[in-house]
């Protein structure tokens, strides 16, 4: 489990400033899928009733209908909780020393990347679309010098606020440690596949 007060490789005096997940709209989307999928069997039964087909009264199709419905509910549940697990375990941790990017892809792939604040060249906040404007969510891109990939804080709440916090932390870090820009990028990237 992740303990924000005791992160792996924690430096002396390092404090967690932000713990971010994707916007609550993603959870609403998952619940929307759940509602839609649960309603489908009932709509199907209504169609069958309208067509004067009653499988429940049949000696074979009655039990089969109940079994199919039960299995369908189980697998809808499994799909929904897997989607939620993917959302719940996608996190970004911003401390006074570094940024940790944890991406969960499905159940069996997890990528953890770490970037020290003194290697960050650019922080960009982005909001696209009418929904992101009203609900205040978007992306924050973190770019280092010479790195092929950049960190992408996807669909987070208040991207401008997060950008300001990170920029402030970078400036504080420069005051403490000096400006390390121009040094080789030391981004740690590890991919864990279960």
């Amino acid at each position: 489990m992740i303990n924000l007060k005791n992160l792996p490789n924690q430096q002396r005096g390092e404090v967690t400033k932000l713990f971010l997940r994707r916007h609550w709209l993603i959870v609403a989307e998952i619940l929307g899928y759940l509602l839609t999928l649960v309603v489908i069997p009932f709509i199907s039964m209504k169609f069958l009733t309208f067509a004067e087909i009653d499988p429940l009264s049949d000696i074979f199709w009655g039990p089969v209908t109940y079994l199919l419905f039960s299995v369908y509910l189980l697998f809808v549940l499994v799909i929904i909780i897997t989607q939620f697990t993917d959302y719940y375990l996608d996190t970004w941790i911003v401390t006074t020393e570094r940024i940790i990017n944890i991406e969960q892809r499905g159940l069996f792939t997890r990528t953890i990347s770490e970037l020290h604040l003194n290697q960050i060249q650019d922080v960009t906040a982005e909001r696209k679309g009418i929904l992101s404007m009203f609900l205040n969510f978007g992306q924050v891109y973190i770019q280092t010098a010479g790195a092929k990939e950049r960190f992408n804080f996807k669909q987070i709440h208040n991207p401008e606020g997060v950008k300001q916090v990170i920029t402030g932390l970078i400036n504080d870090d420069k005051r403490r440690h000096g400006d390390a820009s121009g040094q080789s990028s030391d981004q740690n990237h590890s991919e864990t596949t279960l």
Binding site: I2, I53, L74
Partner: protein, 88 residues
């Protein structure tokens, strides 16, 4: 004659598969989740919702007499009845 309880074999196999995926989800959340109360709530919700779905399916399946047997021709009766009622 095919006993109806043969259908339960496939059902329980699929329940076992769903349980396996539930286990993977619980493992990932408990292993990689944040150390706080929300994670415990998520684990509890996962477990309770799975048990709820099992309870719902059990309440439906318990109404069936699984000891009965059927003939293969009875499987297609309901379809033929729709296509050509006079043939039955």
């Amino acid at each position: 004659m095919i006993p109806l309880w043969y259908l339960l074999i496939a059902y329980f196999a699929l329940v076992a598969l769903a349980f396996l995926f539930l286990f993977f989800n619980l493992f990932d959340i408990s292993h990689f989740g944040l150390q706080n109360g929300k994670t415990s709530i998520v684990l509890a919700v996962y477990t309770l919702s799975f048990l709820l779905v099992l309870l719902i399916s059990a309440s439906l399946l318990i109404t069936i007499d699984w000891g009965e047997s059927i003939q293969i021709s009875q499987i297609t009766d309901i379809i033929l009845q729709r296509i050509s009622p006079s043939s039955l």
